[in-house]
């Protein structure tokens, strides 16, 4: 066990850990400010913000030998006996003058900058800067440039940390960005005619500590302090990236990755980040529909639930349990899949469970440092499979279900959709047309929904909580961010009502039940932590202790500091 001294405080780090001074200080609760360093990228030590005093304690004599000059904390590894000083006048003076130097070129157009409120320069200046900006020479000139579909560059706000350049070289691997010119003329740019168009391009906007790279899709949509973050999981592929949904007044404004060493590390792909228009699409199904004589009639929830319960019960009584099937979508959470399966098996042990269609698109896309966009475009195939397997060892696939429909086996089918993209066509719809009772639960209209006897409006991942199991068996919990669209109900609530359970559906109350009943989920009995639980290998890293994980703020934001000050005053 190595012992490091940070500002006179001893902190222990593990023998196998390779930490730099910033990380070691973080363990001791001391913040060393930095711009260019990022735990997921190579070290360049170019911003000079993290310069600190360091030394080595002689084990035998106890005497500390200090390095005469300041050294960059990001580039200096710690070992047993390392002494770090972050609060000496020398270190503080350096931090102040680095900030001052950046501000010589910085327009300070915070009022119109999208980064304001989560800007590292803003926050660091309040915490480590001079009291007042001494330079007052440069008025703002807008220097906007589109670098790619999702990336907008404001060149004069740049602090030349080169994180974005390193990202495109080391992680996304296409190296579209580079530093052009030298010295005080240095700037970030692309080669003419080669825009940044890799599938991870949105990450450079997150990486930028200031407002130099802004997301074109989010630009001027909302000031960041109005938005409320909600922890969630991306459902666009089976990687299951940990994300944060940023919402204000029930509108989702942006999605950002959340550090998770077990799934996505710091990154997420553009598909998951930007292609979420389906959540507030105007054509979404907003109310319960019931087929009347020749067209759909509106229906209210209690009536629909009772009617569906009665119809299914009738089918089981008169036609036998073999004639009903539940199609369990891989977009349902574990809890929801469990409730639906339990309900159907409760109706009749002979009822058939079907794994919904698994959308697959092309090949897995693997990037330089291992980040993968999976071909399997659903979040919870594995979780749903495990639930199905528990209730029915030989569950059917979607294709088998359709084949059986051709053979006129089904009299009643409960089909859950909830796919962000189109998942069925007229041909599929015609094949199930001979089923007399078709209950379709989905949020967007599709040919199958148009053939349905009952259409139940479900919700997207942003509107519900629950757990998803990714391709590797990592179970992650999400939190709801938006209220359900119009009269839609949370899918779990629908299943819970159908099963005759009382009260509001609470995924966290269902999970222990699932864990007790299905051995695969046993580990999640007492809740799922931030970084998830690997149900297959049984070991996972915690995002808290593994590294300085976050790409957002390593220090309190200005808002927190301001509210602290208000509390002191009152």
């Amino acid at each position: 066990m190595a012992v490091i001294t940070v500002d006179g405080r001893d902190v222990q780090i593990g023998d196998d850990e390779k930490l730099n001074c910033i990380q070691a200080a973080d363990r001791a609760g001391v913040t060393i400010p930095f711009y260019c360093w990022h735990p997921g990228l190579s070290v360049v030590a170019s911003c000079r913000m993290c310069l600190i005093e360091t030394g080595q304690k002689n084990k035998d004599t106890g005497k500390v030998e200090m390095v005469p000059k300041l050294v960059p904390g990001c580039q200096t590894p710690v070992k047993d006996g390392t002494v770090i000083i972050t609060n000496s006048p020398k270190v503080k003076a350096n931090q102040q003058f680095v900030q001052e130097g950046i501000l010589l070129d910085h327009p300070v157009d915070c009022p119109i900058c999208d980064q304001a409120g989560e800007c590292w320069l803003q926050d660091y200046y309040f915490n480590f800067g001079h009291k007042e900006r001494q330079a007052d020479i440069k008025p703002f000139t807008s220097d906007r440039k589109e670098l790619g579909e999702h990336v907008t560059l404001f060149a004069d706000r740049c602090v030349m940390c080169s994180r974005c350049v390193r990202f495109t070289r080391e992680v996304s691997g296409e190296a579209e960005l580079q530093v052009i010119n030298r010295g005080s003329h240095a700037a970030i740019d692309i080669f003419p005619g080669f825009p940044i168009d890799n599938h991870l391009s949105g990450n450079v906007n997150d990486l930028c500590p200031v407002g130099a790279l802004c997301s074109s899709d989010f630009l001027y949509q909302q000031r960041v302090w109005f938005m409320e973050p909600h922890d969630s999981v991306c459902v666009k592929c089976s990687t299951g990236c940990s994300v944060q949904l940023h919402e204000n007044h029930d509108k989702l404004y942006r999605i950002q990755p959340r550090f998770n060493p077990n799934a996505n590390e710091w990154w997420m792909c553009d598909k998951g980040r930007f292609e979420n228009q389906y959540i507030d699409a105007p054509e979404r199904i907003g109310g319960v529909k019931r087929r009347g004589r020749d067209q759909f009639e509106n229906c209210d929830w209690p009536a629909a639930i009772t009617e569906i319960q009665r119809c299914l019960q009738d089918l089981v009584t008169h036609q036998g349990g073999k004639t009903i099937a539940a199609v369990v979508s891989p977009f349902l959470t574990v809890e929801e899949a469990y409730l639906l399966c339990k309900y159907f098996k409760g109706l009749s042990p002979e009822a058939t469970l079907v794994l919904g269609k698994i959308p697959v698109d092309g090949q897995d896309e693997v990037f330089a440092k291992g980040f993968t966009i999976r071909a399997e475009k659903c979040p919870n195939r594995r979780g749903v499979e495990e639930v199905l397997r528990h209730f029915q060892a030989d569950f059917m696939t979607w294709d088998q279900f359709l084949a059986q429909a051709d053979a006129k086996r089904w009299k009643g089918a409960y089909i859950t959709g909830l796919y962000p993209e189109t998942w069925n066509d007229e041909a599929d719809a015609n094949r199930i047309d001979n089923i007399s009772l078709k209950i379709v639960q989905d949020f967007s209209p599709s040919p199958i929904a148009r053939k349905a006897t009952f259409v139940l409006p479900g919700v997207t991942f942003a509107e519900k909580g629950g757990c998803y199991v990714n391709h590797a068996g990592l179970i992650q919990a999400t939190d709801w961010a938006l209220k359900p669209f119009e009269a839609a109900h949370i899918d779990g609530q629908i299943f819970s009502d159908l099963a005759g359970r009382r009260g509001l559906y609470q995924p966290t109350a269902i999970m222990p039940e699932v864990a007790a009943e299905i051995p695969f989920f046993a580990r999640s009995a007492s809740g799922v932590p931030d970084g998830g639980l690997n149900l297959v290998t049984g070991s996972e890293k915690s995002p808290r202790t593994s590294q300085l994980g976050t790409v957002t703020h390593p220090i309190p934001t200005f808002r927190t500091v301001a509210s602290d000050m208000l509390e002191v005053e009152s």
């Binding site: 157009d109 009022p111 119109i112 008025p139 703002f140 000139t141 807008s142 906007r144 630009l219 001027y220 000031r223 302090w225 109005f226």
Partner: protein, 184 residues
């Protein structure tokens, strides 16, 4: 505190004498005040103004907090840069802004829509203080009336028209504020 606390001084109501009991003196006192005002008013020395024919005078209209206006810059464009500082500062949450990229070369962001619900507003003046470009100001217009609630929701055009109405009498409080204009 107890009723028998030595620090409490109990004051008894004085007993009225016979003149007092006839209520003559208080009546005379009261009527004297009434008559004083009567003769003062007859001489024309009054506080009352005949609103709306007559307008009241303010000590300093520049610090009066009445209806908002949106200032225009030298080229007649809205000065606001849609930074949302006013909306952030507003304790009544009555300001609603939609910002977007400006159509002008020298400006980056501008309000596509800027709406103040004057019925919700408490006229505290925080928006004016928060504005980094002195775009929003409170005028001395105080007689705000409308026939419906919708009429009292002021949009950008309406707020700019308040500027046109009031700029002659009330000059802009500051010439500064070029947070998003070329050159300061």
């Amino acid at each position: 505190m107890q009723a028998n606390d030595p620090n409490i001084q109990w004051v008894e109501e004085p007993q009225l004498g016979w003149t007092g009991r006839m209520y003559l003196t208080p009546i005379i006192d009261g009527l004297t005040i009434t008559l004083n005002h009567f003769f003062k008013a007859a001489k024309g020395d009054t506080f009352t103004v005949q609103f709306p024919e007559e307008r009241p005078k303010f000590g300093n209209p520049l610090i009066y907090r009445g209806v908002h206006r949106l200032n225009k810059d030298d080229e007649g464009r809205v000065k606001c840069v849609a930074c949302f500082m006013c909306a952030t500062a507003c304790p009544a949450h009555c300001i609603d802004i939609v910002g977007t990229q400006s159509p002008w070369e020298d400006r980056e962001k501008y309000p596509q829509s800027f709406v103040i619900d004057e019925l919700r507003c408490i006229f505290c003046g925080m928006c004016e203080e928060a504005c980094p470009v002195d775009a929003i100001e409170l005028t001395s217009m105080f007689d705000l009336t409308g026939a419906s609630r919708e009429e009292m929701i002021f949009d950008k055009e309406k707020l700019l028209s308040v500027y046109d109405q009031t700029i002659a009498a009330e000059p802009m409080k500051s010439k500064g504020g070029h947070a998003a204009g070329k050159g300061a």
